[in-house]
Symmetry: C2
Subunit: 199 residues, 2 copies
């Protein structure tokens, strides 16, 4: 049987990243998020000096920050090169063994793999609360960050996948992390995974 991969897409502030970590822990498999994938990309040597030099100017010093800037209508842009690297890293991780991958359009990148594609969402007021708590922002700043981040995710996803971010047809299951609670949401994903891999 091929490795079964869980991909988690999520609204900013919905707790999706933490849910990914919990699911992986319950199943005893690794969880990869943006930071880890970026680190692997850098260590692998896929990231060349050109990308590294340009990244120096990114506000977060993250190579993935460039997924979010404007694009040229034709020709390979810096973003295209970074997406290609990200794709290579994600597929190599998926080939290595079962795992959880949070974000990074992994549902699309692994569309020919055996995946359980999850989308996590929550009401705006709860996303704001969570963002205020974890990022030390006020409510207005938190709301802006949530909206901006998800808008960027949505544009980026559309550009590279042709799909609509958050559209149900792309996912196996979509869960409201507030209604269910973070812990139970993670438990359900793990439970679905266990039964799917029992087949």
């Amino acid at each position: 049987m091929s490795n079964k991969i869980i991909t988690i897409s999520r609204e900013f502030g919905s707790g999706g990243k933490y849910i990914g970590i919990l699911v992986a822990k319950k199943l005893g498999i690794p969880c990869y998020d943006k930071d880890i994938i970026e680190k692997i990309a850098e260590e692998s040597g896929f990231v060349d000096d050109f990308i590294r030099r340009v990244s120096e100017y990114a506000p977060s010093k993250s190579i993935f920050a460039y997924s979010f800037v404007g694009r040229s209508a034709s020709g390979e842009s810096i973003e295209d090169r970074i997406f290609a690297i990200q794709k290579k890293v994600i597929r190599e991780l998926a080939d290595k063994g079962p795992c959880v991958i949070v974000g990074r359009s992994a549902d699309y990148i692994l569309r020919n793999y055996d995946t359980l594609d999850v989308f996590i969402y929550a009401p705006m007021e709860d996303k704001i609360k969570r963002t205020v708590n974890f990022k030390g922002l006020n409510e207005k700043e938190a709301k802006k960050l949530i909206k901006d981040t998800d808008k960027k995710r949505s544009i980026n996803y559309k550009y590279y996948t042709g799909r609509t971010w958050g559209e149900r047809e792309n996912y196996t299951v979509m869960l409201n992390s507030t209604d269910l609670g973070i812990e139970k949401t993670a438990e359900f994903i793990a439970e679905i995974y266990r039964r799917e891999t029992e087949k």
Copy 2:
């Protein structure tokens, strides 16, 4: 504790109605769908002679067929009266005890109740297959029926609830019945319900 109600909204052909029946069976609670709610409405005496007379002209002879015809911009139309009856019946059923309610905008009608709001969806090709099997139509006819029915549901839902049908924020969980399979989808809903009511 108040009665916990499961509402199931579903794309036509996704198996949502059958899933509702399976969930109810697993939990030992009743399942109410359009036909049952209509029957209760008629027996209750909510349906007066006027509605009955107009219904005679509905293609399906169903009072709910009128949810789908054009509406006047102001004043109480026949559809408004029927929606009001439906609301009354659904709330009475919810007050009686835990149950599963399929369709009929029950997620909105019971928005102040303790509900588990589920949305079932599936890829178009699978909905077509299911509709061809169960309705004895050819593929083209099936596809048209699926699209028309969901379009009507969507318009009707928007009109009476102000919400967007199928929009994730209205539901606790959204499940792809093809990816998970009908039986497992039902089992997951039952499992979520069991844990939620354990609280």
